[in-house]
Structures are given as C-alpha cells and as structure tokens.
Symmetry: C2
Subunit: 458 residues, 2 copies
C-alpha cells in the first residue's frame, strides 16, 4: 500500500525586481513596471516541493500574496497532489469555494492566486512523476485530461465529448510529435527589440540581432504616438526585411475607433498581428477591431478566465489566442482554453516575458502541440530575454526556438538566493535603494529559511 504524502505548508514570497530603473518592459500602458512575483512554495511531509508564481508589475504584489494566504488552507493538510484526479479536485476547491468566489468570481487577484497554487501543485506532481509538466500532461489519457477541466459555462461551446474527440484524434501521433519537439524545439518570437523605452538605434540594433539569433518574428510596442509608431515600424521593417514577421502590441491603449484608425495607418508595413488593441474584457470590441481593419487580432494575456476566451472564439474576435500561464487558475483552466481554441481552429501563441512566464508557458504550448492541436503551424511562443537567471531550470531559446525542458516539474523554481535578495521590501536589493550596492553575498542563506517566507501554518 502506498504511503500518502501530505502538504504540510504553503510559503508565499513577495519578490520584486527593480526593472523600472532601466525601462525594460515599458509600453503604452505600463511605463515603469517592476517585474514581480508572488512566489509560492508548497512543502510536503516527505520533503517534496512544488513551486508556482503569480506575475505582477510591482505595487499590489502584496495583495496577491494576501490572496494566496487566504487560499492556503485549501492546500495545507491535503494529500500531496499526484494524479489528474487530485489536481482536478484541488483546482475545483480553489476556484469554487462559495465565499471566496464572491471576490471574482474567477477573475482578478483571487483567481491569479488560485492559479499560482494550482501551478505549484502541478510542479509538485510532475516532479514526483519525474517528468517535465509538458510531458506529464502528454502522458495522460484523453479521459484524464478531460477530467481536469471545469466545463461550467463552457457547454454551449465545448462539451466533454467535444474535448474527448479532440484529444483522441491527437493521440496516435503523440510519440512522433514528442520526438520532433525534443529534436527541433518550438518556435519563439522576441519582444526585446520593441519596448517603447528604446531609442531608434537600440530598436534597429536589437531587431538585427534578433534575426541573427534565428528569430522569424519580433514584436514592437505601439499605441503612445502614431507618428512614432509609423517611424519605428518602418525602421524595423527596413531592418528585418519582408520575410520576418513583425507583430505589434498596443497593451489595451485604444478604444475601438482608435484601434481601427491606427492599424489602418500601420497596415502598409504589414504587421503580423495587433495585440491587445483595447480592453481585455471587450469581446465585442475585439470583434469590431478585427472586422474594421486589415491586420489580424491577438489577445488573451489579460483575459480573466475561460468564459472570456470562449466568447472571443464564439464572436470570431481573434485570430490568435494568447494564453498566459499565471493569470487564469493554472494548468487546469489553460487546458480548457487550449481545447476551446482547438475546437474553433484558432492557433494558440502564448504570452510570456515578465518573471517566470516563459518558463511556465512553454510547457503548455508544447503539450498543445503533442496532445491537443497536434501542430506548430502559425504558432509561436513569446520570448523576452531577462530575469531567467533567477530560475534553476530557465527557459532555453536557441536558434529562435524554445528547447523542450527535460528536468522534472514546471521550471518554476526560483533560486533561493534570488528570492532572498529581491524580497520586498526587506531584501538587500530594496534596502540598498536605486543607487546602493546591495552587497548580495554576506548574510544570505544558501537556502531560504522555511519559516522566513510568510508561511501559513497547517
């Protein structure tokens, strides 16, 4: 008889990187982000650990930590999740507590916190199985995968039978696709050239570098000033030539008419998609933008939950579905979204960047290829080359492609030294201030103190 392991505690750490000091990550709506994570560690009696995170851009990261603590009692004390059934039950408990549900329902801080915990449980379970999450998912039967999904509010667009049919159709080719994935990787695009904070010379230099590095798609932030955008897009197009895709991203800056007018102006430079043209809640607005101008529409990094994705697909509002690993309620809800996209035949091109989002979301795109959509056609994962050094199993992109993770788990574990150094507000980087020398070495534990994080007792 198997000995049951138990979750003995949940830690949550408020980790913030002072990225606003360099304007990395600046766009039309987010001029000075401090890329941050509400970083979660589950611990089990047998010494297992599961790591997850919620990405934020600074202020308010503490609110997400508070939400994690409010949800922690649903995790602490339960058997360590190991199977599809365990992970489905945990996801359900975290999203359907009748009192906590009032805080969303299924959106915003409470939902993001649930996602961090669900993802930490997936890290724990996949680590226990000795598989990276993409392979752990791709090893599950179609029936187990269907059991992960909460179909509430989806049945007018996707039923369990629909989902089963999609997964069964993809089952025969799984092994061959997994082998190709390991050999070839998964296409990436890079946003590094296109931040609004870059001057033109930097844009040109980084665009040229991106092509040299093997990327076939780059992305530019737009939306603050039309003349600037026209000039920057022209420069980028001249630099990369006609064969490299240039996506543009307005980060929700526009109303519908603004988006139509602006993109009509930019269209001659052949942007590959316009991302987040308007409010992420505005399904009908995205549909109007899509029909009102010639550039394809992408959105999803801020879509609150599967119900919003369902409607974007039902309304024909999007050409690309941009899942985010850490905004919805974790792997389970993203499996639902992958299945919805497959049902409607819309490619999934994940959002990444931030802190740890590349590490997490690569697993979901790779699972989609191996076991859901069965294709990489028109699909590409965002890549931003920063902050990976803080992870023990960082995303690896070479030749413009994500390489399939081989280490067990979700690639979500941060280095203990990084957690200690960047903990807000008391870590040495923050104590030292913008001009100080954080003097990172002395006095830092090589492993984080299990009780030093804000541990929630059993």
């Amino acid at each position: 008889m198997a000995v049951t392991d138990t979750v003995t505690g949940v830690e949550v750490h408020d980790v913030r990187f002072p990225t606003s000091r360099e304007l990395t990550g600046s766009d039309a709506m987010n001029p000075d982000p401090d890329y941050s994570a509400a970083y979660v560690v589950l611990r089990t009696a047998a010494g297992g650990r599961g790591h997850g995170l919620c990405f934020t851009i600074g202020r308010g990261n503490d609110v997400v930590c508070a939400a994690v603590r409010a949800l922690a009692p649903y995790v602490t004390g339960r058997p360590a999740p190991a199977t599809a059934a365990d992970l489905a039950a945990l996801h359900r408990d975290l999203t359907h507590d009748s009192q906590l549900r009032w805080l969303g329902p299924e959106k915003g801080v409470a939902h993001m916190a649930a996602g961090a915990l669900v993802n930490a449980a997936w890290d724990l379970a996949a680590t226990g199985a000795g598989l990276p999450v993409w392979a752990f998912l791709a090893a599950m039967s179609p029936e187990d995968l269907v059991s992960l999904v909460d179909f509430r509010y989806l049945s007018d667009a996707l039923t369990p039978d629909d989902a089963l049919a999609i997964l069964r159709a993809a089952e025969p080719g799984r092994a061959a696709r997994a082998a190709r994935l390991k050999a070839e990787g998964y296409p990436a695009y890079t946003t590094s050239p296109g931040w609004l904070g870059h001057d033109d010379a930097t844009l040109v230099r980084l665009a040229r570098q991106a092509v040299a590095d093997g990327f076939r798609q780059i992305k530019l932030k737009v939306g603050a000033d039309l003349d600037d955008d026209l000039r920057r897009l022209r420069l980028a197009r001249e630099t990369v030539g006609p064969g490299v895709r240039i996506a543009v991203d307005a980060n929700q800056r526009w109303d519908v008419a603004d988006a139509v007018r602006w993109m009509t102006e930019l269209a001659p430079y052949e942007p590959y998609w316009i991302e987040e043209p308007t409010s992420p809640d505005d399904v009908l607005g995205h549909a109007a933008v899509r029909s009102g101008q010639p550039v394809r529409v992408a959105t999803g990094e801020h879509a609150a939950n599967r119900v919003v994705f369902k409607q974007l697909l039902q309304a024909g509002a999007v050409d690309f579905v941009q899942i985010d690993a850490a905004r919805v309620a974790g792997v389970n809800e993203n499996v639902a979204i992958l299945l919805l996209a497959a049902k409607y035949g819309v490619p999934v091109c994940p959002h990444a960047g931030g802190v740890g989002l590349c590490e997490l979301v690569q697993h979901l795109a790779m699972f989609d290829y191996v076991a859901v959509s069965g294709t990489r056609r028109d699909r590409v994962i965002e890549y931003v080359d920063h902050l990976h050094e803080h992870f023990t199993d960082p995303a690896v992109v070479t030749g413009g492609r994500y390489r399939a993770p081989t280490a067990p788990g979700f690639s979500a574990r941060m280095k203990p030294l990084s957690v200690a150094a960047y903990r807000f507000p008391d870590g040495p980087v923050w104590r030292a201030g913008p001009d100080g020398d954080p003097d990172l070495d002395p006095g830092l534990d090589p492993e984080p103190d299990p009780t030093g994080g804000q541990e929630v007792p059993e």
Copy 2:
C-alpha cells in the same frame, strides 16, 4: 481664500456578521454566506470623515482589506475631495495606476477596493456639502457629471457628447422629480421570502407578509432543483396572486442550455425576470438565454466593470441592468453605467442586500430618476431586511418604497459598536463562537479607536 482640508489617514476594518448560522442569504451558489464588509473610513485634518465599504460573503474579506491598504497611499495626503473635479481625479488615480492596474485590470479585489475608497470620498464630499449623495449628484451640472466618467473603452457605445445630451434632456425636470421623490419614495422589491434555506411554510408566510407590507414585487432564489423551484414558485404565485411580480434569481448556477430549459419550465408561473442565469462574464451567453426562452433577463451585480455593462447593452443581452454600489469602482463608474443604460433605454434595477448595499445603492437609483433617466417606470430597488441596524443612517422602506435619505452623506457609516463587536477575527462576537454569549457591552469603546483599525499611516 478657502482653507484646504487634507486626508490624513485611511482605516480599514474587517467586519463580518455570522449570517451563515441562520442560513439567511442562502442561494444556489452561496449556501452559507457570512455577510461581511471591508469597511473604510477616511479621516481629514479638519475632523471630516468619509465612510465606504466593499461587501463580501466572508472568507477573503481580509484580501479586500489588503487591497484597500495597497491603494491607501493614493488617498492619504491629498486634499479632501469636495468637487466633481476632485472626485474624478481620485477615481482616475485609483483605477489607472499603471502597476496596480495589472491586478485586474479594473476587476475583482483591486477594483472593489478602489470602489470602497471612491465611495468613502463621495461620503466625505457630500457630507461636506450638507447633502445626501443622491441630491449632491443631482445638484451637479451636466458638464460636471460628464467629467466624473472615465470614457475609456466606452466611446463605441457612449461618447461624452451622448452623455451630455442625456443629462441636459433631464435637467429641466430635476426639481419636480426631486420633490416627487421626497414625497413618494422609490419602489422597492423584497428578496426576504425567497432564500433557498427557507422551508415552504416560511416562504408562504413571508410572501404574504411582503404583500401586506406594500411590496409589489418579490424575488425567489432558484437553480438548485427544478422540482423544488416549480413547487416554490407555484406556492408563491398562489400566495401573492397575479398582480404581484415574482422575479427569480439563479445566482450564476446554469450553463446556457440549462437556463433555457429551466426557465421554459418555470415560465407558466410568469416570473418577472430571471436574474444571473449564468456566468456574469458571459455576455453572449446572456444574449442566448434572452433569445432562447420567454422570461426577461436581468444581471449586473457581479459584472466587473463598465466594459461588461457596455457589451451587455450592445448585445441586447439584458432587459434590466442591475448595478451594484460596491463591486465597480464607486459612484463614478456607476454614473457611467447609468448613462449607458439610459442611452440604450434599459431600466436600472439595483442589486442590494448584503451589508450596506441598500444604504448605498438607493442614492444611485434616486439620482438616476432625478437627473439621468428621469423615470421610475419599470424600475425597482432590491430590499432585504437585515443588518440595517448596524448603520447610523439606515435605509428606510415603508409601504414597499425606499424613502429618500435626508441626512448628508452616503448612508454608509456603521455604528462604532457594531464595527468593534463584529470585527474579524478578534471582535467579541467571533471570539465567543457560535454558541457563546458575546457579552457585547463591557469593554467596548463607544467610538472605534482611530488607531485600532488597521490604519495606514500618512
């Protein structure tokens, strides 16, 4: 020259009422709510106070308190809001901080917390003007009212010019309508008979009582069991007769097909509306429910923001717009929603109940009558007769009508003794446990300790 008052601090109190002990408030999705409030008090240097709250149903109320604390620095230290311009600026700062916006955007915990602070500022400003909030709003010029609204993402449905035209059209009749409002009040309906936790005898008794009390509309919770709902609706209809409206409320229980099937079955008993048939995020789902069965559709208490309301109206998804005073970002966003509803000619029937929602939302419906829609036709405010005793200026409903508040402010001030007694987890009611005698009198301050609340320093 006027002396400028300054906001010196923000308190937030986690106040919870153990309503789950009596099953008051039970419905198909919320079996055991503990009606709660993240209760906010602004204090000014000149001794002014502004009161606001966010309603929750128990667990997670602390997370909203954490969000209020994260937002408090935007309030503390600024001039005490007094004018439309001040209130517009505060609303903008609380909803458009570039880092905090990531937590929503404009939804969930962070947005609700912003709403509590915005509403507290309205309480402060109206109190300073010596007017109840409904009259304070109704005394503003159309131009000032338009200036309160954040039109971002609205312009495809409502422009500032549209809003100005609506408000100017209603301006000539304001004084006459205010006089009628003071004389006649505003129609109410009661949900007290219809909680799922009531047995049939209680349902019949309370329905009969409601009619005797002058209500022309009652509401029943449905959605857990169709046979039960058929029996309860039949009993209610037999009790109140054909001339009294019976609304039904599924509290988001169904998928689209369930809602269509269920309401087709209930239709012979002539329910007046079906409220929250499905996910509050599902604009297209509500449109499908509306077109798929004969009963009118109402929703809005959980609609996250003005963008969702905009789409519900654009899609023809609702017959009634149910604003909530404490889910969106306060008075300013509700003015936007009232204007959207007026533009589309859809009546606003506010959600209330909970803790303090009747007190707050009555002001918005009365303002709508006096200065926006100009009519009470097909309009009615929800009323639930509990927890009003904890407010210093409780909502007054007599003869089935809300009486227009006359005291200055937003009716949002809780009695200090109630705040102290029900504070979670350390108030005497919670310390005593379900069977204990809280022994409320000894040791409680008659006024809350200004530093005893979780005060956020300047």
